[in-house]
Symmetry: C2
Subunit: 232 residues, 2 copies
């Protein structure tokens, strides 16, 4: 067993050269991380990431040339196990949300104390995900808001509640693209029975055909409630 663990390697990407230099100094002097590269270009950064395989990348996400979020996404897609911490000047909830959604392991404001940056790196290096408390609160406000509308919709009268258990089973199979024969086979009942159920479903959901029934089901939280209004 090794007694010491390898010093974690860090890559810095920030279009602001001054800030880049400052962060490099900070890390070099006051932490146990090795800076393996610095660049002001997101594209170059991605290439450096492939080349040097750092453990951590500090990525400024407010860059004019190339979107930092996109860069994070590309790095995540490489699937090299590189953990990216987003650096930003803004505590904008939407930015935080998007960064975390695409896989950032942390989000730190440039205005925060340098100790906090080091701490974030420590946490992330340890495999955790780190968000400063203030930003976490911001994130959750945004997060919960994005579901509020949805909740409102689904708390309106939902015609799905009128369906019997059996009808729900049938509808479930409909939402998987099955036809009458297939449903009959899966439920071990005759095709005509399925037709009866499906017709009853149409009546209850006030639709004219199976496609509309399926759409109603999906849009009103049937079974796999996977709809959210979240988009990157």
């Amino acid at each position: 067993m090794r007694e010491f663990k390898r010093r974690s390697r860090v890559l810095l990407i920030d279009d602001n050269a001054d800030h880049l230099r400052g962060v490099k100094e900070l890390i070099t002097l006051e932490s146990c991380y090795d800076v393996v590269g610095t660049t002001t270009s997101a594209n170059i950064g991605i290439n450096l990431a492939k080349k040097y395989r750092p453990d951590i990348i500090l990525m400024d996400i407010n860059m004019p040339e190339k979107d930092g979020l996109q860069a994070i996404q590309e790095i995540e897609k490489l699937d090299l196990g590189i953990r990216v911490i987003a650096l930003s000047g803004y505590d904008d909830a939407d930015l935080i949300f998007r960064a975390m959604k695409i896989g950032a392991k942390g989000y730190v404001l440039k205005t925060m104390a340098s100790a906090q940056l080091i701490y974030a790196m420590d946490e992330v290096a340890a495999g955790k995900i780190y968000l400063p408390t203030a930003l976490t609160s911001r994130f959750f406000e945004y997060f919960q808001n994005s579901f509020k509308e949805e909740t409102k919709i689904s708390s309106e009268e939902n015609l799905l509640t009128y369906l019997t258990a059996r009808e729900e089973e049938v509808l479930d199979l409909l939402t998987q693209g099955n036809n009458y024969k297939s449903i009959a086979g899966k439920l071990f009942i005759s095709e005509t029975t399925v037709k009866t159920h499906v017709n009853n479903i149409f009546q209850k959901l006030q639709v004219n055909d199976r496609t509309q029934a399926v759409l109603y089901a999906l849009n009103n939280g049937f079974a796999n409630r996977r709809l959210s209004k979240i988009a990157v």
Copy 2:
């Protein structure tokens, strides 16, 4: 201007009477909150919430009788501005995620130090959302995971890209539940033309009927890319 702010009022809901008593004592003795009610029943709790309008509710979400999450949802639906903190014995990522999704303003483990509970209440009373750091990390792992699959899918070959502009228009109308006649009317073309397009769509998407085509479209980011695999 008032110099002192009103002491915040708290309602406790926990099916475990012992724990309930313990928490009540803790809050009464060691915090500045008024316990306005305690109950072991989620249903009664909801009624007490309506009656006493507490500022905060501590809600055990691991109750056999009635699901605590559901109770939170109902309280949120009341829209009385009551801020609910979920209490749980488990740091299960899925539980945490669902609690936060439906609007819990905090999530605290029963095993945590009592000081942490008080702190959480302070934060929540101040209008923030509070999650212990360890649970935040858990939450984000789950959160990011739920988007990983999606990213993977959308980066795989998407048969939708083979569709022509006109076919996309037709498919769009299909995903709105239109039949041939309706689509023909909306695009000012004959029904047979629509049939041709639809058949070509089937070929390209490798499906057998319109329902499957619609499902493929929705699951592969057609138009409204709002699908995520998150479920309550």
